[in-house]
Structure formats: C-alpha cells, structure tokens
Amino acid sequence: MYLKEVQMENFKSVKGQVNVRLNSGFTGITGPNGSGKSNITDAILFVIGPKSSKAIRAGNLLDLIWNGGEHGKPADKCRVTLVFDNTDRTMPIGYDEVHLTRVIKRSKENKQGYSSYFYINGNKSTLKEFEELLSYAGISSSGYNIVQQGDVTGIVKMGAVERRRILENIA
C-alpha cells in the first residue's frame, strides 16, 4: 500500500488541475519559499480528515479554494483525490486502486457558505468511512506519520502533560 498520486484542483495555490505522481520509496520535495510545498501536505491532510481547519492553515474551509491570485477570479470549488495503490489489499476493497476524493463547493444555501462532499472510487461516502479505510493502513491525521512544518520544535516546547498525552493517544 502506498500513495501513488495526489490530484489537486483549485486547492489553495493550485489553479486548475495539477497532479503529483509519487513512488513507493523515498521522495524529496523542494522549491522556493511560498511556491506550494506545504500546500501539497495540506491537500493530503484535507482528505484524511484533519481534526481542525487550523491544521491545514485555513481560517475556514472556504480559504482552501483557489482565490484567483492578484487579479483573477476565485474558483467556486476545490477538489483533492488521493490515489492509493491497493494491490496488496491492505484496504478491504476489491480494487487495485483506491481513490479518496474530497470536494468543497461554495454554496449560498448553507450558513457556513460551503458544502463538503466525500467519494470513494467515485461513489458518495463520508469522512467516517474514509477514516475507517485509512486506519487499515495505519494512516490517521492525529498520528505522527505527518510531521508538519514547525512540528519538530513543537515537541520540545510543549508542556510535560501534553507530551504524555501523545503516548496516551497511541495506546
């Protein structure tokens, strides 16, 4: 099981459709300040269900939609699909690939201003189903498998009780 591709459409600093293909081993990601490296990590977290929008550096989920840049028009929705290689059937689904898709669409009807949709291989789903599937692969947004920018110094700065809680969450 590994993450084969991250497909982003109008997500944060991504305008239109941009895909990142990944290998199963060790991939390095580099580039200038502000170019969008951490936004790729945010896109992955967005799908696997962050505990809060703060974890993906957004005031609210509408901040995740491409804002148009200096002079352009903002997009009306953003979509991220994570493509997992499931040939080893780590996830109990009978396909070689599992596509987990999450969409945020601006909407005037809801008071929060947007609606949020989840899909597994194109079929409507829920965050809860995502979390269940991902747990088979040991992937969770609260675990230490994703170390965001600045997290490393956080471990040393946090208080002793908060640090103990990290191990409690794993138990």
């Binding site: 993450l3 990601i29 200038p32 969008g36």
Partner: protein
C-alpha cells in the same frame, strides 16, 4: 487503560533510547514520567545527554540538539505505530549539514518498509531521496510541479549563479 499506557511507554522509550544514540553518535536519551505510579496525574519529560556532555534539561540544549531529540522521539513513535506512508515538512530546519544528512539517511533506511515524503530546502538531505519533485511558481502565486527534478539543477550558494558581489 493504565496497562495499555505502560506498554506504549516502555516500547517507545526503548525505541527512543536506541534511535537517539544512533543519530547523536553515542548520546544517552530516555523518557521520564513525573509520576510513575499514576502516570495520568503527571506529565512526561524527555531527558537527553549529547555525547561528551552532562545530562541537561532539553530546554538548555542548542536549537539543533533539540531538533535531533524531537526527531528521535518522532521516529520512536513511528516505529511503535507503523503507517503506510510518512511526511516530513522541513524537519531539518535547525540542523547543520551533517545532522541533516543523518536525518535523511535514517529516512532512506526506513523507506524500504514504508513510503516517505520529505520536504526540504537542503541538498544535504535531498541527495538521499530516490526521486525529486520540484515545486515552483513563476511570480504569479500559481503552483507548478516539476515531476522529475535533477538534483544538480538545484543551485546552492557556492555555485556562481551570476554572483551578486
């Protein structure tokens, strides 16, 4: 609940001792509970002694030394609670070139068991990756991906890039 916690604590502590000794070239590190009898009433400290030094509170260590302690703790947890993939986003920012290499080498070894993505600005770390992805924007705030970046195309300061002096 208590038993579950102790199982995790002693396993992660064991991992941490081994990993920290490896990455620091022989330092000593361990986890200490404030209240070992009833752990949920106290916190947990990380004690680390870099090679050749006296034991200190981690607050008194240098920026890079703290970074190495924190990374060792993260690796110790990852070993206990394995996952299909891992992401490190500029975890080498406090590290000097040598320690950035040590971190990347450690990731390289672990990448035989799981997938690792590492964001870094340092060649010292990037050179250990199997593949390299470039992320850039042309001054218009739009993210573009360069799928197969060549490590030699990353210009570091010592190469005369139209030197400004």
């Amino acid at each position: 609940k208590r038993d579950g916690f102790f199982r995790v604590f002693s396993a992660v502590n064991e991992n941490f001792r081994r990993v920290y000794s490896e990455v620091s070239g022989g330092g000593d590190g361990y986890l200490e509970l404030e209240n070992p009898d009833s752990p949920f009433e106290g916190g947990m400290h990380i004690i680390a002694r870099p090679r050749g030094k006296k034991v200190t509170r981690i607050e008194a260590l240098s920026g890079g030394e703290k970074g190495l302690v924190a990374l060792s703790f993260i690796f110790a947890i990852q070993e206990y609670d394995p996952s299909a993939f891992y992401i490190f986003d500029e975890a080498d920012q406090n590290l000097d070139s040598l320690n950035a290499e040590i971190m990347a080498r450690r990731i390289k070894i672990s990448s035989s068991r799981a997938q690792f993505l590492m964001v870094s600005l340092r060649k010292a770390a990037l050179k250990y990756a199997d593949d390299l992805i470039g992320v850039t924007s042309l001054g218009d705030g739009v993210t573009r991906i360069i799928q197969q970046l060549d490590i030699d195309s990353i210009v570091e300061p010592d190469e005369p890039e139209g030197s400004v002096e």
